[in-house]
């Protein structure tokens, strides 16, 4: 069995310890100010560079993957979303992909049952992915509280919904629990399913462990060690307003571990598969209309190629064509 996840786990543990020890021995400014700023910088520069690099390459052909009926005869109902011919259709198709993971929802699993090969509809991957992405999204929005003053109304509203279970004190946020749950499920899937285990590499496990680390430290701070939120907000507001500083009396070392993990994740995005968050918008099989036969697509580098012309062809076969009674250009 492939145990490359152990390397990633080890890496994340060591990184966590580095931040913990670093904060304890007085490197708070490094972990609380310098590294977060560097991470944001790396993210912005890396992300923009990557997207510009993608944009630099043209889309020479319109290679839509069609997943439904084309638009042809008036009386045949076209599939306007899965096989779009208009910009509107493309936008809806993209929204369904980006917001609802439509393609993943189609997932099936092949099974050999006796003499039959069957394809069972399975939604687990889709479900875990949706849980993960949306809870992460909610968690990020909630954290705006630490960077914006006064707290925007939608953050408060979201927190009310997120905390509607009204369990414990401070009240449990559903998103935190689902984030940890979904990442754990995605991780277990990679470790336990043989095919997933086989295709997974350190680069797949690393971000998962990192996010699990983020969720765990966050949950610990909120529900168990009960860190001083006021001081943390003082630090984060300092970062957001470009007047960084370490609060008097210090913050729990656990917070620095949390912040270090977040910094690593943010900086890691542009250089890893996490760039799928940008790539999904640019995938030419999804973001183009299947209207090639109606509207010519232009390839900016359309090359001039040497073709075998009709005249050359007739030159080769003229006598045979004449004998067979096939019309020719030159008698």
């Amino acid at each position: 069995m492939n145990v490359s996840y152990l390397y990633s786990l080890l890496a994340v543990i060591i990184l966590g310890l580095i931040a913990y020890v670093g904060a304890a021995i007085g490197l708070e400014s490094l972990f609380g100010i310098v590294i977060p700023y560097l991470a944001i910088l790396a993210f912005l520069v890396g992300f923009v560079n990557k997207v510009l690099d993608w944009a630099k390459s043209p889309v020479p052909f319109r290679i839509t993957t069609t997943c439904g009926q084309q638009k042809t005869l008036d009386w045949i109902k076209p599939s306007t979303i899965d096989n779009p011919t208009t910009t509107r259709g493309v936008i809806i198709r993209m929204l369904l992909e980006i917001l609802l993971f439509r393609s993943l929802f189609r997932n099936t699993r092949v099974e050999f049952k006796g003499e039959k090969v069957s394809y069972k509809w399975v939604i687990w991957l889709w479900l875990f992915a949706i849980m993960f992405h949306y809870s992460f999204f909610v968690v990020v929005i909630r954290h705006l509280r630490f960077f914006v003053e006064p707290t925007p109304f939608f953050v408060n509203a979201l927190e009310t919904v997120d905390g509607m279970l009204q369990l414990g004190l401070p009240g449990l946020f559903i998103s935190g629990a689902t984030l940890l749950g979904a990442t754990t499920l995605l991780l277990l899937r990679r470790i336990l399913l043989p095919k997933m285990n086989y295709i997974s590499r350190a680069a797949d496990y690393f971000p998962l462990f990192l996010i699990i680390g983020i969720a765990l430290t966050g949950i610990m701070m909120r529900y168990f060690t009960k860190v001083d939120v006021v001081k943390i907000k003082e630090l984060t507001m300092g970062l957001a307003s470009f007047h960084p500083g370490i609060p008097e009396g210090g913050v729990s070392a656990l917070f620095y571990v949390h912040l270090f993990f977040v910094s690593l994740l943010v900086a890691y995005i542009p250089f890893s598969k996490l760039m799928h968050m940008g790539g999904i918008f640019l995938s030419p099989t999804r973001n183009l209309a299947n209207n090639n036969r109606m509207k010519r697509h232009i390839n900016p580098w359309n090359p001039k190629v040497k073709i075998h012309t009709y005249d050359e062809y007739e030159e080769d076969f003229r006598d045979k064509m004449k004998d067979a009674g096939i019309p020719v250009e030159k008698e």
Partner: protein
């Protein structure tokens, strides 16, 4: 098929359990039955590719040029700069595994390198190592690896075990299209002169003689006339198609497989009978005597060279528009590449059916109509006299060819036609048709005899679905709209479901078509009795 295991043995032997060792460490098995013979120099030189001389994939040492690493590196770089798709597909995969069991070659072989995700990783690992910051710093940890001769062998083995069917792309959350990855991989191999002859010979033939099979103009005419004699024998009607006739309204182009061998020839006869019944003003061309385009399986330049003949010939003959026959990858080229590569076809008119007056606005730019669109429109307007009972001995199912399904969306037209010319039509299970259809196992130039093991395994998902409807409904005829299907299905069915035959849709149309002045038909286009002889009933 001498060396092949029995079907149940092959089926039992399929194991999807991944091996112990990581795929990066497994040397690619170059075993008989899984690799096609390499392209011959004479064909490569016609297309101006590098000629490596005589060699075999089974050789220890491959005939690579001195600077092969540089050629691949620069070729890769050039393609990254030319295709955004390649960059996106290299960067965005998260290895979620959704594609892993969607590939017919993986389902049939259990070989992990046939999982689409790993097939793409074969290229991606080199991309990371050579072209990304993370790969340059983290090396193996980021999933990169060095380009070695072993990698080239692996590419050859696995980019010629992909039929570019795009099924995985339907399920990918980012629409990553393995066909695109395979096409790029094959282009890179082409730079080294590594191709397979089953692709390069048709390409070279098509370039020179106008069709994949290398049929010369006079022979093309003879074959067609021979098929017309058969039609006369069956219907009593003499058809005289024209060749290279200037001023015809429509140029008809179909794959050469349709006039070369059974059962494609019956479909070709079907086209001619339909056109005769309509009194269509059309012509065939000997110069553009190929609908298919094996250039698609070679390189975009080769595809363009071969495809250019369609518009060039339409222009020379002065036709108004082009009608295209039943073929799979041909229609990917026409729908997604032709107009971009060789258009604009401003010398043609927007296609209009001379029989019904329907204007095909969906083809207003390419000016080329698919024959099932054309025929569906005729039937809808009641322009054909049909007697579907002449197909009553057939219990028909329909195979969506990969490219018309996933690179076009031609799903309802063929079904509408079948339903009007046959009384017994049954769909295969939902996850095996339409956009989820399975490849015949022989697409993208892999329909050669020496890879029969691979073809039968890759064709298993399709064949197994046919077997299902055969057992459930007594299906005995597999209809399709692809010339490669018509060549690939007979041996595939013979192996997995021997009771099922293969037909094109226009063979079924012509069986049912009542032509003015025809004699009473006693046989179908195959010279077989219209009705199944009821031996058993008599004997019982």
């Amino acid at each position: 098929m001498g060396d092949l295991p029995k079907p149940d043995e092959m089926y039992e032997s399929i194991d999807h359990t991944p091996p112990e060792e990581e795929w990066e460490k497994i040397e690619s098995p170059i075993t008989p039955g899984r690799y096609a013979y390499p392209a011959k120099d004479k064909n490569l030189s016609i297309m101006e590719f590098r000629t490596p001389g005589e060699w075999s994939p089974a050789d220890e040492e491959w005939p690579l040029p001195e600077n092969w690493q540089q050629i691949i590196h620069e070729g890769f770089k050039e393609r990254l700069e030319k295709y955004r798709s390649l960059k996106i597909f290299m960067d965005t995969c998260v290895r979620c595994g959704a594609c892993a069991d969607k590939c017919h070659y993986f389902i049939g072989t259990g070989d992990p390198k046939n999982m689409p995700v790993v097939r793409a990783e074969l290229l991606r690992s080199i991309y990371r190592n050579d072209f990304t910051t993370a790969g340059k710093i983290l090396k193996k940890l980021s999933g990169g690896r060095e380009l070695t001769k072993e990698v080239i062998k692996e590419w050859f083995a696995y980019f010629y075990q992909c039929s570019e069917c795009r099924r995985c792309s339907v399920f990918c959350p980012y629409g990553i299209d393995t066909a695109e990855v395979t096409m790029m991989g094959r282009e890179l191999l082409n730079l080294l002169g590594l191709n397979i002859n089953w692709i390069m010979e048709p390409v070279a033939n098509c370039f020179r003689t106008g069709n994949h099979l290398g049929i010369q103009p006079q022979a093309f005419k003879e074959i067609v006339e021979f098929l017309c004699d058969d039609i006369e024998e069956i219907t009593g009607i003499k058809i005289n198609p024209t060749f290279n006739r200037k001023g015809a309204e429509i140029l008809f182009i179909t794959p050469s497989g349709d006039y070369f061998a059974d059962p494609g020839t019956y479909t070709f006869m079907g086209y001619l009978m339909l056109f005769e019944a309509l009194g269509l003003d059309y012509t065939l061309s000997t110069y553009a005597s190929e609908g298919g385009n094996f250039g698609l399986f070679t390189s975009s330049d080769a595809m363009k060279k071969l495809n250019s003949k369609m518009y060039a010939e339409a222009k020379r003959l002065g036709v108004k528009w082009i009608l295209g026959g039943e073929c799979g990858h041909m229609w990917r080229v026409i729908n997604q590449y032709m107009d971009t590569m060789n258009g604009p076809a401003d010398f043609l008119e927007v296609p209009k059916s001379p029989i019904t007056g329907t204007v095909f606005n969906n083809a207003s730019s390419t000016k080329m109509v698919h024959i099932t669109e054309f025929t569906a429109d005729l039937i809808r307007h009641n322009k054909l006299k049909l007697d579907p009972s002449r197909n009553d001995k057939f219990k028909v199912t329909y195979h969506d060819s990969c490219n018309p399904a996933r690179a076009m969306g031609l799903l309802e037209e063929p079904r509408y036609v079948i339903n009007n010319v046959c009384n017994y039509f049954y769909e295969m299970p939902e996850n095996t048709i339409r956009e989820q259809t399975f490849c015949c196992g022989s697409g993208s130039g892999l329909n050669t005899e020496e890879v029969m093991d691979l073809r039968l395994r890759g064709g298993l998902p399709r064949a197994n679905a046919v077997k299902h409807v055969h057992e459930k409904y007594g299906v005995n005829m597999l209809a399709c709209i692809c010339a490669i299907d018509r060549a690939a299905f007979p041996p595939l069915m013979e192996y997995w479901v021997p009771e099922v035959g293969t037909t094109g849709i226009h063979e079924l149309v012509a069986n049912a078509l009542v032509m003015d002045g025809e004699k009473e038909r006693t046989t179908d286009l195959r010279f077989e009795p219209l009705k199944e002889e009821e031996d058993e009933a008599d004997e019982g």
